[in-house]
């Protein structure tokens, strides 16, 4: 797989694949039924962009093979700390999925607390104070000063509902 250990080449290949898939869909985009023979249709620009992208992606690939451009990916990522980065991505995804259920306050507080932990912060009191303070401050600012509605979450609604 040494052939793929080149930043320019892999980038060129990914864009080429994207452009080919884009072109495939661009060619079957629906046309305006009232004027199907118009000089400019919904397909005109997408097809043009896809063709140009394919041409330039091929130029990039050719340059990576013939000119030896592009550094090694393996070299570039040596020493990278993948674990915290991937965990933060998962955390953000979890935040977006749980936001409606847990609501702004609980989900944001949990997000910050777990984020601090992933980044290596082990001082629990400090983490709780910073996360709690920041979320409460933002909540007060947005809801009280700017009058915005922040979803309290399904869970909070259920608790308040059952208590009432």
């Amino acid at each position: 797989m040494r052939i793929l250990d080149n930043k320019d080449r892999v980038g060129g290949l990914l864009i080429l694949a994207f452009a080919v898939a884009y072109l495939r869909y661009a060619l079957v985009l629906p046309l305006d039924p009232t004027d199907p023979n118009a000089s400019f249709t919904s397909r005109t620009l997408p097809v043009g962009l896809a063709v140009a992208s394919i041409v330039f992606a091929l130029v990039q690939l050719a340059m990576s093979f013939r000119g030896g451009s592009g550094g090694s990916i393996r070299e570039a990522v040596r020493g990278y700390r993948w674990r915290p980065m991937l965990l933060l991505l998962v955390l953000m995804l979890g935040y977006s999925l749980m936001f409606q259920t847990l609501g702004f306050l609980v989900s944001s507080f949990t997000f910050l607390l777990l984020g601090f932990f992933i980044m290596g912060e082990r001082r629990i009191i400090l983490s709780v104070v910073v996360a709690g303070g920041l979320v409460t401050l933002l909540w007060a600012l947005l809801t009280q000063a700017f009058g915005l509605f922040l979803d309290p979450g399904d869970l909070m609604r259920a608790i308040v509902g059952s208590a009432g």
């Binding site: 994207f18 919904s42 030896g68 991505l89 977006s96 601090f116």
Partner: protein, 508 residues
Amino acid sequence: MIDGILTGLQTAFSPINLLMVFVGCFAGTFIGMLPGLGPVSAIALMIPITYGLDPASGLILIAGVYYGAIFGGSTSAILINAPGVSGAVATAFDGYPLAQRGQAGKALAIAAYGSFAGGTVGAILLLVFVPFLAKVSLSFQSADYFALMLFGCTAVAAFSGKGQVVKAILMTLLGLMLATVGEDPSGIQRFTFGNADFYDGISFLLLSMATFALAEALIVVLRGSGGSATASDLEKDKLGSMKLSSDEVRDIAPAVGRSSILGFFVGILPGAGATIASFLAYGMERNAAPGDKKEEFGDGSHRGLAAPETANNAASTGSFVPLLTLGIPGSATTAVMLGALLSYGVQPGPRLYIDSPAVFWSVIISMYVGNIILLVLNLPLIPYISKLLSVPRQLLTPIILFFSLMGVYLVSFNTIDLSMMVAIGAIAVVIRILDYPLAPLLLGFILGGMLEDNLRRALLIWDGSFAFLWQRPITATIMVITLLTLLIPVIGSLRDGRRARHPDPFME
């Protein structure tokens, strides 16, 4: 014009707008100081807050954030050798050595005075050029605009680094392709795959936050770099005096003058921007310096610090020229500003000068007010603001991510946007690892809709013929410039590739 300026003065000096400039400069300095967060991220983070304001106040706040972020970037470059923005890289060459010699205060003062001078000259030139260019561009038609949009897209590639030309073109094309997602002007759904969340297309704010703020923060985590500065680096008494002697002022004054003008004109060019301006000014001053002064460059030269700082501020002002006169952003930052303007319902371009003189002139005047605020208020506060640099990275990164997510959520109140942002952020990290530039992607995305609208209109006017490209003199001229801008660097890249395969034996 005088009426317009008076209206602008009235708007800019209203208490609420003065407060906006102050808040913008202050918040921008704060955000810009954080390594990894530049003006694009700073502006993107502030946009949701501006939605509740009127367009003039919103844009004034954003302009303040822009200046503040550039100033903040220079501060971290000088104090901890970590430029918050690429335009401040050249500042670190001489700023950091000065700070190491215990003259951080002096270095910060030179940076602030240089920025002020650059911003002032830039604002004056803007005052002269913008109305003139706006009048000229009133005669522009859809065909010319289409050509100009193409020029805007290709110019980014021309100014990208060596070996980056084709990559920049590819990223611009990718941005243009992403811009076609959603409903087209004839009401046809494109690339939505039946998902209602895509009907309005991808939000520019989501894309800019994901590709800049989120990706930058994640890359810093990946590299394990950008840790907080030690407290001792930032102690107030270590900054030293902020006063400059008259000899020092005399020494830097010519460099500041030259760099202001150079910076402004480089800033006007689409795609060039503050980074190129700062490097050009640094190079120009080093070459122009007499023998003994030349040797000081890189080792704490006052001129070497003043030149890039002046030029990058003047260039930031210059980059407003194409935005305000033609509605074409010349950089990723002004692209985000254009997106913000469009979302306020303001269409930048020659009509802005006529239709919304209050917005037009108040923004220009506020730029100047912003420069004064940076000098008078921010400089004395720097020792305190810089304490932010000592916030531990393990706390700062999740907070940056949280604010990025909230920035997008507060615009749409749709959690699907958050998931989409995370996905785009992850893709942006891959793109960054592969060394493909993200600014052209954003520029292509913002220009995409306007490019298609103008092409559609031009083709309708010309009965479906592309003859307007060579038959309309203005369009043809812009197209020739566009082709040259595109072809010269591409040929250069190919030639470099060939040279790499067949090296000149005499050069070995």
